[in-house]
């Protein structure tokens, strides 16, 4: 059955049709929750809130975006609310702007040719994870949706109700910030 047919049935109260829609989309929503919030309990809660909210508001879904974009929007907004409450652990937006926009230094010889070698030990992995988690929520959400979930920039803009230039700026600054953190690690620990 097509997604459209399932949505029409679910709108009429067919919970089995909604279960099928859930089966088709749940891995993406769960992983988005895990990546944005950092643990399986919060990812499960986010998934639950997202599907209940989606079912409650199904009559408002007009099909102008895909069903999965609509779900991503509900899930990301819920996650952003939670992340904003925990903002004390985030770096400031001024700091990320400063790193993202400053003149960079040449470091070609410092980086391994094969980046997989950086994960020989778990230390860099952990530091990079902490750096991603410290991104301000409005940067983290864009970075996760585009660079990790691999959604196109236009879709990220729709999900977050942002302009395309705003999405591009946030992606660039997030990448520059994370690059700086890896560079700092390399300088400290060597190759």
């Amino acid at each position: 059955m097509s997604e459209q047919q399932l949505i029409e049935r679910a709108k009429k109260g067919d919970t089995k049709a909604f279960e099928e829609l859930m089966k088709r989309t749940q891995t993406n929503i769960y992983n988005l929750g895990f990546r944005l919030l950092g643990n399986k309990e919060d990812a499960a809660d986010l998934m639950q809130d997202t599907y209940i909210k989606a079912y409650e508001n199904l009559d408002k879904f007009e099909g102008r975006s895909s069903f999965s974009t609509w779900l991503y929007r509900i899930a990301t907004n819920n996650a952003l609310m939670k992340l904003r409450k925990e903002k004390n652990k985030n770096i400031s937006i001024d700091e990320i702007k400063k790193i993202g926009d400053k003149d960079y230094k040449i470091e070609i010889s410092d980086w391994y040719e094969n980046p997989s070698l950086y994960f020989k030990s778990n230390e860099l992995k952990q530091q990079l994870q902490e750096a991603i988690d410290s991104l301000p929520p409005k940067y983290k959400s864009v970075f996760i949706l585009h660079d990790i979930e691999e959604l196109p920039i236009s879709e990220v803009a729709k999900i977050l109700s942002l302009s395309i230039p705003a999405v591009k700026t946030r992606i660039h600054r997030s990448r520059m910030f994370l690059r700086e953190k890896i560079s700092e690690y390399i300088k400290k620990h060597g190759n």
């Binding site: 109260g13 919970t15 909604f18 279960e19 859930m22 089966k23 749940q26 891995t27 769960y30 992983n31 895990f34 990546r35 399986k40 499960a44 998934m47 639950q48 599907y51 209940i52 079912y55 003149d103 960079y104 040449i106 470091e107 070609i108 980086w111 391994y112 980046p115 997989s116 950086y118 994960f119 860099l124 992995k125 990079l128 994870q129 991603i132 970075f143 660079d147 990790i148 920039i153 591009k168 992606i171 660039h172 990448r175 520059m176 994370l178 690059r179 890896i182 560079s183």
Partner: protein, 77 residues
């Protein structure tokens, strides 16, 4: 095109978001500019490493069953 201009556009270059003439200018520039090549390669590696952190997880069956059960109880007509 100057290095400062490249830096502003490098993420769009990585994402394939630029018009061909600008894309080609950057492509040529990084062939001869070690500083911009370094920026390009290190950003690509940053993205690669970030992706490696997040392995795709499957949804525990107990969680999807629980959510579906709640929807069924809450909304069954």
């Amino acid at each position: 095109m100057k290095c400062k201009d490249i830096e502003k556009l490098i993420s769009e270059y990585i994402d394939g978001e630029l018009e061909k003439p600008i894309n080609d200018l950057i492509k040529e520039h990084i062939k001869i500019c070690e500083k911009c090549l370094s920026l390009f390669e290190s950003l690509e590696k940053t993205i690669f490493l970030s992706k490696k952190i997040y392995k795709k997880k499957s949804v525990p069956k107990v969680i999807s069953k629980r959510i579906y059960h709640q929807i069924e109880i809450k909304f069954k007509k």
